[in-house]
């Protein structure tokens, strides 16, 4: 059997002819398997959706209970069959509930990893390399200039700045799902025990993380805090809110931004970021190589990001490799303060 009969790319996303379902489709389809809850991967309105329980919960929070015609919760590590195609969800380490989806059929195994990150993260189950014939990887940070530093060192930059400017609020731009909660957890691990203030757009998602047993400490809505208490506090908001009217309530804030893109100076400067925090939920250049090699795959397909460089590396490493040139992904990491769309509050009550 040709692997393309098990899975291939289409304008709507990855499609399995054998199983008749899509993975992370960018347009509405009858049957979708969803790797994780970021809006570029998880869209509302599909006929039937299969995802982890937490991803389904996150979709319901973002889109409302009726986000799909039918839903089915996938358990990590438990194989089910869809039209004869074996489907197993495995932890991807990207955000809460994120999964790689392994398909097996007639001796061929393809792993669609969605977005993933090896390494420790208290807010997500750790990434597991899955043995496969074909590994499908993203390449958001697929260039050798991207080597993410230790996140605890980056967090120390923030706590050091808090000590240096105790009179200024520290506004941290972070994607509302995943990155924001990870920054909270990192701050707690660094011993920061003051209340952390948040933008209304991340209230429900943060509450959901806490309900799933992830301790984030005292989290409060920024709009409910008296101006006098803002001094020296950490305020986490979607990047788009940093240049918004919303941010004007903070006098002379230090503007920080938590993203893997902060590695590139021009990116930080373009966004007027004073305190770049290189904290990423994606694999960096070394992580990508380690993760790909750990799967023992014979072939690599690259979905989005810096596919040219990763494919070049894979060919040098003796793998078959090709880019899928998929569009519509990467919005969550590509997002910047000047592009206020993907992080805009998605539910009316999330307006600050």
């Amino acid at each position: 059997m040709r692997p393309e009969e098990l899975l291939h790319s289409t304008p709507q996303g990855l499609y399995s002819p054998a199983g008749d379902f899509f993975i992370d489709p960018t347009r509405l389809v009858p049957r979708a398997l969803i790797t994780h809850g970021h809006s570029d991967h998880a869209r509302a309105g599909h006929g039937a959706v299969m995802a982890t329980r937490q991803t389904l919960d996150i979709m319901a929070i973002r889109y409302g209970e009726g986000f799909a015609g039918a839903t089915q919760a996938a358990e990590y590590g438990k194989r089910v069959e869809l039209n004869g195609v074996g489907v197993t969800f495995h932890p991807a380490g990207h955000i809460l509930g994120s999964a790689q989806i392994a398909l097996d059929h007639k001796g061929c195994t393809i792993v669609a990893s969605g977005d993933y990150k090896p390494g420790a993260d208290p807010t997500a189950l750790p990434f597991e390399p899955i043995r496969c014939t074909i590994f499908i990887s993203e390449a958001t940070f697929g260039l050798p200039v991207f080597r993410h530093p230790d996140p605890t060192e980056e967090t120390a930059k923030l706590t050091d700045s808090l000590a240096l400017f105790p009179e200024r609020a520290h506004l941290v731009g972070a994607y509302a799902l995943g990155k924001a909660q990870r920054v909270m957890a990192l701050l707690r691990a660094a011993g920061h025990d003051r209340p952390i203030l948040i933008h209304g757009a991340m209230e429900r998602l943060t509450g959901y993380y806490q309900s799933q047993g992830i301790p984030l400490g005292d989290i409060r809505l920024a709009r409910e805090v008296k101006p006098a208490e803002l001094a020296g506090s950490v305020v986490i908001c979607p990047p788009s809110a940093m240049t918004d009217v919303w941010s004007r309530r903070f006098p002379d804030p230090v503007t920080a931004f938590a993203s893997g893109w902060m590695r590139i100076r021009a990116r930080a400067r373009q966004n007027g970021v004073e305190l770049p925090l290189i904290i990423s939920d994606h694999a960096d250049w070394d992580d990508l190589q380690d993760a790909i090699l750990a799967t023992g795959c014979e072939e690599l397909w690259v979905t989005h990001g810096q596919e040219d460089a990763l494919v070049h590396w894979a060919l040098l490493a003796g793998l078959r490799a090709r880019p899928l040139h998929m569009v519509g992904y990467g919005e969550e990491e590509a997002e910047t303060t000047a592009a206020p769309d993907t992080a805009a509050p998605e539910t009316p009550e999330a307006q600050p």
Binding site: L143, I264, A266, E274, A309, A338
Partner: protein, 567 residues
């Protein structure tokens, strides 16, 4: 080096001018001599390391990394020093040794032979972290580009004590790193440093662009008008040194000494003082276009042939100093009278002349002159006129850009609606975004018919927010890839229309359309406009007809800023 690297790193992220001044002043206050002096030299561009070329850095990185991955990374990051700093495969364990101080690095790179350079640089890169590597590479290649001008660094020196930035500017010429006397004076511990430079640079006075709404507040009787020449702002300083011999220097408007590029001009001047004017190329008494002037810029070797073909010339419009007397506190009219006398007394060899005063009674008169310089006194030189300058008759010569005394009133730019066809990633500030755009217009008899042919390329004019929008559009609408270039959808119904402003049009074989735009920039994004309604080639061709006298703009040359940064 670590402290200096940390300063550059923080400066690179500090958007506010006052914040930058505070950071630099704080560094000066807490860093001993001579370290801070070399940092000041680096920030003011006073250091140059002839042998540390980008080529050497490329060679070092190519010995250590895969060439394809380097090329892709450089294309993405858009900055050689930063790419190398991030990609450099540092050996483990060496970072524990303290790297040498800035002064030692400056000394080493100034005195080292070319042969030793690669090994010394590589060993320093091995010992520095990412920030240190970036700062070192920026330092030795001479392009800090962290949004700090020499003026800003001098302002930070002034902030150490009671001095004003202009006082620092006045003593600056002739001072050398590590500026210990300057710091002592700025901190109130020492005497004012004396400069013995007989031909120092005096900071220039700049103008503000005039908006239509400004006129109602301005009285024409209080102003003098001159042509705004499309050359290079130049200051010619000449004086006798201690040994009685005359020294002549030509400075760009930022104080860069460019005498070496114009030995013919420097040798022909015979006054004693400082003249402010425009550097132009004259041929048979006629001012040549800026394109001709560009032939003489950025040349490593100035050959006799080049000098013969493109003789340099100063069109003078102000006199700042004469025979030891500072004229800057005199009103414009008085300085003008002194300038006219100086030019009249100067040997008539065609190297320096007066920029004429344009007479006018009302703003309407001046508007007419600006629209048609040829018949208002500029004659054959009208091609080199890009507008008019307005100077208050009573204005003193004030360094910097004071608002009110001087105005520039440029000729109106043209604009067309064109369709985005190709995009490429930018460099520098725009790096990692698709920010270089090739755009085209329709060849057919009506818009939307025929095909789109490229008519130009623009890489500025848009806001940061617009950049994000176009970048997203490019990524989502790529139909083809040619190496780093992406072709984006451009049909009559799908695509992005850009309103492109430009200064002029010329015939060119570079684009298939046979046209080339001068100084094109993105004026507006027309999301509202279907590509089928964009302009036609024929419309542009008609514009060439009345384009004979159009002004032309350079790219970045000798302190002439791109308007994108001026804004």
């Amino acid at each position: 080096m670590n402290r200096f690297a940390a300063l550059l790193d923080r400066l690179a992220y500090e958007p506010r001018r006052n914040g930058k001044i505070r950071l630099i002043a704080d560094y000066f206050a807490h860093t001993p001599d001579p370290e801070r002096g070399f940092a000041l030299a680096a920030l003011t561009g006073a250091l140059s390391f002839r042998n540390a070329k980008p080529g050497l850095i490329r060679q070092l990185i190519s010995e250590r990394t895969d060439p394809v991955l380097f090329a892709l990374s450089y294309d993405y990051v858009g900055d050689l020093s930063e790419t190398v700093a991030l990609m450099w495969p540092a050996p483990h364990g060496l970072n524990h040794t303290e790297p040498p101080p800035l002064s030692a690095i400056v000394h080493a790179f100034t005195h080292m032979g070319k042969a030793e350079l690669p090994a010394v640089l590589a060993s320093l890169l091995d010992r520095l972290d990412e920030t240190g590597r970036w700062a070192l590479l920026k330092l030795i290649t001479g392009g800090l580009r962290i949004g700090v001008s020499a003026r800003l660094a001098k302002t930070a020196v002034a902030a150490l004590g009671e001095r004003t930035p202009d006082e620092i500017e006045l003593v600056w010429p002739g001072l050398e790193p590590p500026y210990e006397a300057l710091f002592a004076w700025a901190e109130g511990r020492g005497e004012r440093p004396e400069t013995d430079d007989p031909a120092p640079f005096r900071p220039v006075m700049l103008s503000h662009p005039l908006e239509d709404t400004d006129f109602e507040n301005l009285d024409p009787a209080q102003f003098r008008a001159e042509w705004k020449w499309d050359g290079i702002r130049i200051q010619a300083a000449r004086g006798a040194g201690a040994d009685g011999r005359h020294v002549t220097r030509l400075y760009s408007r930022t104080g860069e000494d460019i005498s070496g590029a114009f030995p013919d001009l420097a040798g022909a001047l015979a006054f004693d003082g400082a003249v402010d004017g425009e550097l132009l190329i004259l041929s048979e008494g006629r001012v040549q276009s800026f394109n001709v002037l560009q032939q003489r810029l950025n040349r490593k070797v100035v050959s006799p042939k080049l000098i013969m073909e493109f003789p340099a010339h100063i069109r003078a419009y102000d006199l700042l100093f004469e025979a030891g007397e500072d004229l800057r506190d005199l009103p414009f009219d008085a300085r003008r009278a002194r300038l006219e006398a100086l030019i009249a007394a100067h040997p008539q060899d065609g190297r320096i002349d007066l920029s004429p005063i344009v007479s006018f009674e009302s703003w309407d008169d001046l508007a007419a002159a600006r629209a048609d310089p040829a018949s208002h006194g500029a004659g054959d030189d009208a091609e080199a006129v890009e507008g008019v300058m307005l100077k208050r008759a009573d204005s003193f010569y004030v360094p910097g850009r004071p608002k009110g005394p001087w105005w520039k009133w440029k000729r109106d730019p043209h604009s067309v609606d064109a369709v985005l066809m190709y995009a490429q990633r930018g460099h520098g500030k725009r790096s990692s975004f698709y920010s270089d755009y090739t755009f085209g217009v329709w060849t057919g008899a009506t818009s939307g018919e025929g095909e789109l042919v490229p008519v130009g390329k623009a890489y500025f004019g848009f806001t940061d927010a617009e950049l994000m929008e176009i970048d997203r559009f490019v990524r989502r609408n790529t139909v083809n890839r040619f190496g780093p270039v992406r072709e984006v959808v451009h049909t009559a119904t799908e695509g992005l229309v850009l309103e492109v402003a430009f200064e002029g049009l010329a015939r060119s074989t570079r684009h298939r359309s046979g046209l080339a735009m001068r100084f094109p920039r993105i004026a507006r994004l027309r999301w509202d406009k279907p590509p089928g309604e964009a302009d036609r080639l024929e419309t542009l061709e008609r514009m060439i007809g009345d384009e004979g006298r159009a002004p032309r703009r350079p790219s970045l040359v000798l302190g002439k800023q791109q308007p994108a940064e001026e804004a």
